[in-house]
């Protein structure tokens, strides 16, 4: 098969295939995981040259310590009101996920994807960015929509492809599009949104506008060519864009090593392009907010793009089609040293004297009821298998702005054939 056998006097080459530390059944031990201290990482000036802050790609910006106390220069010192809003947004996102997951299991729709454990990353962004800034999300940024106040009912309608679905039943569940909320149409093809965000930012900059762009992808998705396109164009044109990588350590069944995590961090990718790059505790919403706010200010000041890696953990399966017990240790979630973002912010607020267990329980209840009510209203408009909620002819609309002859013919043909068949 090879052209020639290995030279006998030379060391044979060996092939390295990364392997995660824990597989199903393994006991999990994160003892040697180095989180760094909360508050330890310096906060550069927003105009800092990327060359002067390369270390930020290898450290971990943390604000909250294990007791929920905020430390250091990245502490954003947000008002308790704002913190409570962020807490509720995270709780709402989690409750929404739970309900929609169950709805899928009940056969009300075809598919669902949760963001459990990663809520802080999206909620922080929604709070740090201006409403006019354009978001190019992946499929796990439902938190952006929720925190931007896009109607939960609309999201459910989309998931059910029902009569109220603004996407006319055309998209799989969770592939939202919400222009009003500055939320770009979600694509099923990984990372395509990355260069698109850069293009939006280039457009805004070239027209002297003030709106910036942000995009999201998972650590696994950084391997796609589009990631490189985005970084290259962002660096060359100093585009006002924030490139967010959610490193939740898993890409379906592949651990982050298969995407390159053994050799370096994902934030370090940005260094290669001369992009300011930071790594942040993705389960610490204060840290996430602070870094995003820094990046937004940097972009608005024409100091160029920022790449942010959020170190977090995908607490649930990849999607309703997945079974994570098949490839990873069930202990990982519990043992994960950066905890849960909701619990950590709750603890912080309690420490500030601005929250307590009772209020938290009340919030959980309110949120659950709200989701339940919204769910009922959405279901009243139909679920996926209730019978088709969209007129058949809508299928032929929006392929082009004006319907060309062939789609008119096809639409007519479909109707005629159904009629002839007596349906």
């Amino acid at each position: 098969m090879a052209e020639a056998p290995a030279a006998p006097n030379m060391t044979p080459l060996s092939f390295h295939v990364p392997e995660p530390r824990f597989r199903p059944g393994d006991a999990v031990d994160y003892a040697d995981f180095d989180r760094g201290e909360a508050g330890a990482v310096a906060r550069p000036d927003v105009a800092a040259l990327p060359a002067d802050m390369r270390g930020h790609a290898y450290s971990l910006v943390r604000v909250l310590d294990d007791e929920g106390v905020a430390h250091g220069p990245w502490n954003p010192r947000l008002s308790p009101d704002r913190l409570r809003r962020m807490l509720r947004d995270m709780a709402l996102t989690r409750a929404f996920d739970d309900r929609m997951y169950r709805a899928q299991r009940q056969g009300k729709t075809s598919f669902y994807m949760k963001c459990t454990g990663e809520e802080a990353t999206s909620i922080a962004a929604a709070h740090a960015l201006d409403r006019g800034d354009m978001c190019f999300p992946s499929y796990r940024q439902q938190g952006l929509l929720i925190a931007r106040g896009w109607p939960i009912g609309q999201m459910m309608n989309q998931i059910y492809s029902n009569a109220g679905d603004n996407l006319k039943g055309r998209q799989m569940p969770i592939m939202y599009s919400a222009r009003e909320a500055g939320f770009f149409s979600v694509s099923g093809n990984l990372t395509t949104q990355y260069p698109q965000a850069v293009g939006f930012a280039m457009a805004s900059a070239s027209r002297g506008d003030t709106r910036i762009a942000a995009c999201w992808c998972g650590e696994g998705s950084t391997a796609e060519g589009d990631f490189h396109s985005a970084c290259t164009f962002a660096a060359v044109y100093r585009a006002p864009v924030i490139l967010n990588v959610i490193n939740n350590q898993w890409a379906i069944s592949s651990f982050s090593g298969i995407a390159g995590a053994e050799a370096t961090t994902f934030a370090a990718r940005g260094i290669g392009y001369g992009i300011a790059s930071l790594r942040v505790d993705g389960n610490d919403i204060l840290a996430c907010y602070a870094v995003l706010d820094w990046a937004a200010e940097r972009a608005r000041g024409n100091h160029g793009p920022t790449l942010i890696e959020y170190f977090t953990y995908r607490a649930e399966g990849h999607s309703t089609s997945d079974d994570p017990t098949k490839y990873r240790s069930a202990e990982e979630r519990g043992a994960w040293p950066l905890g849960d973002p909701i619990v950590r912010l709750k603890q912080h607020l309690i420490g500030l004297g601005e929250w307590d267990e009772e209020r938290h329980a009340a919030m959980d209840k309110e949120v659950a009821e709200f989701i339940r009510d919204e769910g009922r209203k959405a279901e009243a408009q139909g679920t996926l298998h209730d019978g088709l909620s969209q007129p058949f002819t809508t299928m032929f609309e929006d392929v082009f702005e004006e319907q060309p002859w062939h789609l008119k013919e096809q639409s007519a043909q479909m109707q005629a054939e159904r009629k002839a068949a007596g349906i």
């Binding site: 039943g169 796609e224 096809q410």
Partner: protein, 345 residues
């Protein structure tokens, strides 16, 4: 017409048959290497590669980064070394980032190097709709490959063929796109989405030899003989076609192309010359689909035998919609009407 089928057979679904083909090939030829997203420890999101990493090691079965262009590009380089890569593209909808390496490199390598370098790569990929996958888990992009000189395109319609064709594809010294109709992984599907699915076990073509056999590429199968019309189909649509014929009682012939390109033109020509009528069926969008090529070929070669216009029954010229999936799918209603039109023309 399979060569030396092994005797021991077992009832398999499509996934099991594909898994068995990979296993048998890997066992015979150490050059064969399986790679792709989630294909290693996990065994693939559809489980087609289950158990292979354990059996053949990580040097021959491994997970890749999520980069379809990289997967194909790396496979081309492995071919230059002398391996025979069998990459999986998780869904055919995600093959586009790998298209340049397929079209500009793998397909043309033998030609441009006058045979010095070749790319004996078999790209496996689940394709087609019917699983509520929306526009990014339902596509049938075969026409993008049948247009490219230097690539073969193969699509099986049952477990027996899936194994035999995959073995032949892997052993072929040219790049082969092997699209697996995911709707029929678990059972033949006649397009009646509102009826329970029959499992493969009840289908004769689920009896698959455990050992080595191959079904030569570029040989179609006449899966139903008939006189009234010729239906050209492949993948899932073979079962829809058979179901419609059974229900309608029209004595049409059904040809399962199995290899789309280079297509078995003799079998097609003989059939259409006999029946004088032809329907081409596929799930892909109609305009510029492989059905256009079939229609063009048939009218070029059987013009004086044709008694009715050749009809194409295909997916509509829209993206694959989520909730209107069954209105998009070229199912029994549409096929029955078309068959009647062609017979009565």
């Amino acid at each position: 017409m399979s060569s030396s089928p092994a005797t021991e057979t077992r009832s398999m679904n499509m996934i099991q048959a594909i898994n068995s083909a990979l296993d048998v090939c890997m066992d015979r030829d150490p050059a064969i290497t399986v790679m792709g997203e989630d294909v290693g420890y996990f065994g693939g999101v559809f489980k087609a590669t289950e158990g292979l990493q354990k059996k053949y090691g990580k040097g021959r079965v491994f997970d890749t980064p999520i980069n379809e262009g990289g997967i194909i590009g790396v496979a081309v380089g492995m071919s230059a070394y002398g391996l025979r890569p069998v990459p999986e593209i998780q869904f055919a909808d995600y093959i586009y980032p790998g298209l340049d390496q397929l079209v500009s490199e793998a397909a043309r390598l033998r030609y441009r190097s006058a045979g010095e370098f070749t790319a004996p790569i078999t790209v496996r990929s689940p394709f087609g709709g019917g699983i509520f996958g929306g526009q990014t888990h339902s596509q049938s992009p075969e026409a993008l490959f049948t247009h490219v000189a230097g690539i073969k395109t193969v699509i099986p319609s049952n477990p027996y063929d899936a194994k035999g064709l995959l073995v032949a594809a892997i052993e072929d010294n040219d790049p082969v796109i092997f699209f697996e109709p995911k709707r029929i992984y678990n059972g033949p599907f006649d397009g009646h989405y509102d009826r329970p699915v029959t499992p493969w076990a009840k289908h004769p073509q689920s009896q698959v030899p455990e050992g080595y056999y191959r079904i030569p590429l570029s040989q179609a199968a006449v899966v139903r003989e008939g006189e009234a019309a010729t239906m050209l189909a492949y993948g899932t649509m073979v079962h829809v076609a058979l179901g419609v014929i059974e229900a309608s009682g029209i004595d049409a012939e059904v040809i399962d192309l199995r290899t789309l390109w280079p297509v078995d033109i003799e079998t097609i020509e003989a059939s259409v010359k006999k029946t004088g009528r032809c329907i081409v069926v596929h799930e892909a969008t109609r305009t510029g689909g492989f059905g256009a090529e079939l229609s063009a070929l048939v009218q070029e070669r059987c013009f004086y035998h044709l008694e009715a216009p050749i009809e194409r029954v295909t997916g509509w010229d829209t993206p694959y919609p989520h909730s209107l999936e069954w209105a998009y799918f070229p199912g029994p209603v549409r096929l029955t009407q078309a068959l009647k039109r062609v017979i009565e023309a």
